[in-house]
């Protein structure tokens, strides 16, 4: 075998290995993103704006995707019941307006209260998950849907008084979307934000996301976190070590729902609006799809997976919209989002996992 032969062979081999280790699905998505970016360049779209909104959308959805890690690691699969935590976050955000809080005060109040409510709800949800081992995803999906529709009744009947939230004349209940202008609209996005070649870096938002990554990292490396991962990876081994499986699954759910609550507040903060009623219905699916795109599986997930996945998924959404608008029509981006996100979940479902009975 000559050295030239060997090099050629190894290059091809290395590409193949690289793709395999990077994940086939992730490689396809990355390729798709690159094609979209090239198309955007050819179509002469404003790249600085596109890059800005990529960063902003990434930070906006980041914590919702992070919320998937604790449940996947504890063996309950992706948290399809995320609307529960989201609802808790929304209640906290609505309360912050009702109490007439503004700026960072409002944001931290909402994050703190939302996290606490999310943790309590997560505990109860964890108890449910322990009763339905093996069917967490199906039950979680419909549990999430139920919570969203139950919350609709709550939003409709809740006795809030703030004129910013109720309908101006007549009509009962809270508005469908509540503007956050003057409240905590973009307080993180604008914190220490600066421009590089026209690209706005939302420093505060990225720092906040980074802080939560650190929190999740510290948690996963704490004694509890390690025990939780052990329970998820090999329940039988964990049990023989004297770890209570149910307890750690519940802890996973608590952390996940609390992150979900914080996640929706950050989401609303960037978006500038609180979306109530049926809006959270499908949010869990996009978060699940994001972490799977990042290379996670139904029982293995890291912060790296969440970060990469969220960035790739959101980037595709950001770039595909103007490209699709110019080439065909505006709805195509939405259609692409549905196909990509559900396609990736289906792909993950078909993969046989070692020791994965979920």
């Amino acid at each position: 075998m000559t050295s030239g032969d060997f090099n050629e062979h190894s290059l091809w081999q290395r590409i193949k290995e690289g793709v395999a280790s990077f994940g086939v699905a992730r490689s396809i998505i990355l390729l798709f993103l690159i094609i979209l970016l090239i198309a955007a360049l050819i179509l002469d779209l404003p790249m600085d704006q596109i890059l800005s909104s990529m960063l902003s959308r990434f930070g906006m959805n980041g914590i919702l995707v992070l919320a998937m890690i604790p449940t996947i690691r504890s063996g309950t699969g992706p948290n399809f019941g995320l609307p529960l935590g989201i609802s808790c976050g929304l209640i906290a955000a609505v309360l912050s307006i009702e109490l007439d809080l503004r700026g960072f005060q409002a944001l931290f109040f909402a994050v703190g209260l939302g996290g606490a409510l999310g943790a309590i709800a997560g505990y109860l949800y964890g108890l449910l998950l322990n009763k339905v081992k093996g069917q967490e995803m199906t039950v979680g999906t419909y549990f999430g849907f139920s919570i969203v529709s139950l919350m609709c009744i709550f939003w409709f009947l809740a006795p809030f008084k703030s004129p910013e939230m109720i309908w101006p004349y007549g009509g009962s209940g809270l508005r469908v979307t509540i503007a956050l202008e003057g409240r905590f609209d973009k307080v993180l996005n604008n914190f220490l934000a600066f421009d590089v070649f026209g690209v706005t870096i939302p420093t505060g938002l990225l720092l906040f996301y980074g802080a939560f990554c650190l929190i999740v990292w510290l948690f996963m490396h704490s004694k509890t976190g390690v025990a939780l991962s052990t329970v998820g990876e090999s329940p039988r081994f964990a049990e023989s070590c004297g770890l209570s499986i149910d307890r750690y699954r519940t802890i996973g759910s608590v952390v996940s729902q609390a992150l979900g609550a914080v996640g929706i507040i950050v989401y609303a903060q960037t978006f500038g609006f609180l979306q109530l009623y049926m809006a959270p219905l499908f949010m869990a699916f996009f978060a699940v799809a994001s972490i799977l795109i990042g290379g996670a599986t139904l029982n293995r997930a890291t912060i790296w997976h969440a970060t990469v996945g969220c960035f790739l998924f959101q980037s595709i959404l950001v770039v595909s919209m103007p490209v699709a608008n110019l080439i065909i029509s505006e709805n195509l981006a939405e259609v692409a989002r549905i196909i990509i996100s559900n396609g990736i979940i289906l792909y993950a479902l078909t993969r046989r996992e070692i020791g994965g009975g979920a």
């Binding site: 093996g134 549905i338 289906l346 479902l349 078909t350």
Partner: protein, 389 residues
């Protein structure tokens, strides 16, 4: 055979006790708690809605005729141990694609309806086949796969209807397309085919003391009856037995020489075909298609209905399907008005109905998962040395 009976009785944990007390009221209530609860809910809702009885009856009959077929289409996959087939959304899409074709050929009346029904079958076979292959790759996770598949297929459906129709797929009738663009309109008018089946044979029953008679679409009910008989008797055939064996234990089925994957695919194909025909019947009654919406909730509504009728993930009968359709759709009719009369707003009733739809599925699935977990524990205790997963 003992195993056979155990799986068939829905609460398999204490069969002995349940046989003993079979005729006691308490036993009856416990066994049928879900339908009884919803029956009470319907009666209360019906009372507070203030709707006149003939109107209510007419609405119920219309909705029974419209929806029963779709709900019954869920039974065969349950028999084959695949749970509730949320993938019937794809069958509904097959039905709608068939309508797009017949409207495009400007067909009308019974000919149009029959052509649509026949046309939906090959499409449903294709979709069902693909669904079956996917389900064989996700054994034990069929339901969540079906749910996600429904969403995924909806994306593909939108892609086809919005960007391919009137473009790659030629559409002759301009009124079907979005003006000045490609893609199907939001509403597809199928008025020429409306009531093609319903009006084939319709009888009016006069209720004494009321002006408006109750009309019954006999032909549609005959079609539903035929389906009931088909579903009932397929169990007795060789194929039906294979469904049941696969449903009880895939390994045993494999060992006894049954091609498990093939049987499962056949079950899904049958279910998808029936759902396609069901959607064709459903839409001929409505008279127009909400192009991007009519199919979306088909799976959820059908599953909720059959569960309300007392079915479970492991056991479903024609009777449960019909009872569930009756109760679920009565709730559909009365809840907005009852909500308005009780709380002062129709939206409350509407939200409540949505909550019930999702909630009943959630609770039923949770109960099933909990029961099978108990069952597993019991077996594990019996065997002591389980080496699962």
């Amino acid at each position: 055979m003992a195993k056979d009976e155990k799986v068939l009785s829905s609460t398999s944990n204490n069969m002995h006790e349940s046989q003993k007390n079979q005729f006691e009221l308490k036993w009856f209530l416990r066994k049928n708690i879900v339908p009884v609860f919803f029956f009470v809910l319907c009666v209360i809702g019906g009372y507070y809605s203030g709707l006149p009885l003939p109107f209510l009856l007419n609405e119920i009959i219309t909705r029974m005729a419209r929806n029963s077929f779709l709900v019954i289409s869920l039974i065969i996959p349950v028999l084959a141990g695949m749970g509730l087939n949320f993938g019937i959304v794809l069958g509904a899409m097959a039905g709608q694609f068939a309508y797009v074709a017949t409207v495009n050929w400007q067909m009308a009346g019974l000919t149009g309806f029959t052509t649509t029904a026949l046309l939906s079958i090959p499409l449903a076979i294709l979709f069902g086949w693909l669904t079956g292959i996917l389900f064989n790759h996700t054994k034990g996770k069929e339901m969540i796969t079906g749910i996600i598949l429904g969403f995924f297929a909806n994306g593909i459906y939108q892609l086809i209807c919005l960007y391919f129709m009137g473009n790659i797929i030629p559409i002759k009738v301009p009124s079907m397309l979005i003006p000045g663009s490609i893609g199907l309109r939001n509403t597809l008018d199928i008025k020429p085919m409306q009531y093609a089946l319903d009006n084939l044979l319709k009888i009016q029953v006069k209720i004494p003391g009321h002006v408006f008679p109750v009309s019954i679409p006999v032909a549609t009910f005959l079609a539903i009856l035929a389906l009931c008989l088909f579903t009932h008797y397929i169990v007795k055939t060789k194929l039906g037995q294979e469904f049941r064996i696969v449903g009880q234990d895939m390994h045993v089925a494999e060992a006894s020489g049954i091609n498990v994957d093939r049987v499962r695919i056949i079950a899904v194909i049958l279910s998808t075909i029936l759902a396609g025909l069901g959607q064709v019947i459903f839409l001929q009654n409505l008279g127009n298609i909400n192009t991007y919406g009519s199919h979306v909730q088909v799976g959820t509504f059908a599953v909720a209905a059959i569960l309300i009728g007392g079915a479970s993930v492991k056991k479903a009968t024609v009777g449960q399907a019909l009872l569930g359709t009756l109760l679920f759709h009565t709730l559909f009719i009365v809840s907005p008005l009852a909500g308005k009369n009780l709380v002062g707003d129709a939206m409350i009733g509407e939200y409540f109905r949505v909550f019930v739809t999702y909630g009943v599925i959630g609770v039923a699935l949770a109960l099933h998962a909990w029961q099978s977990l108990q069952e597993q524990r019991r077996i594990a205790l019996l065997k002591a040395d389980i080496s699962g997963e």
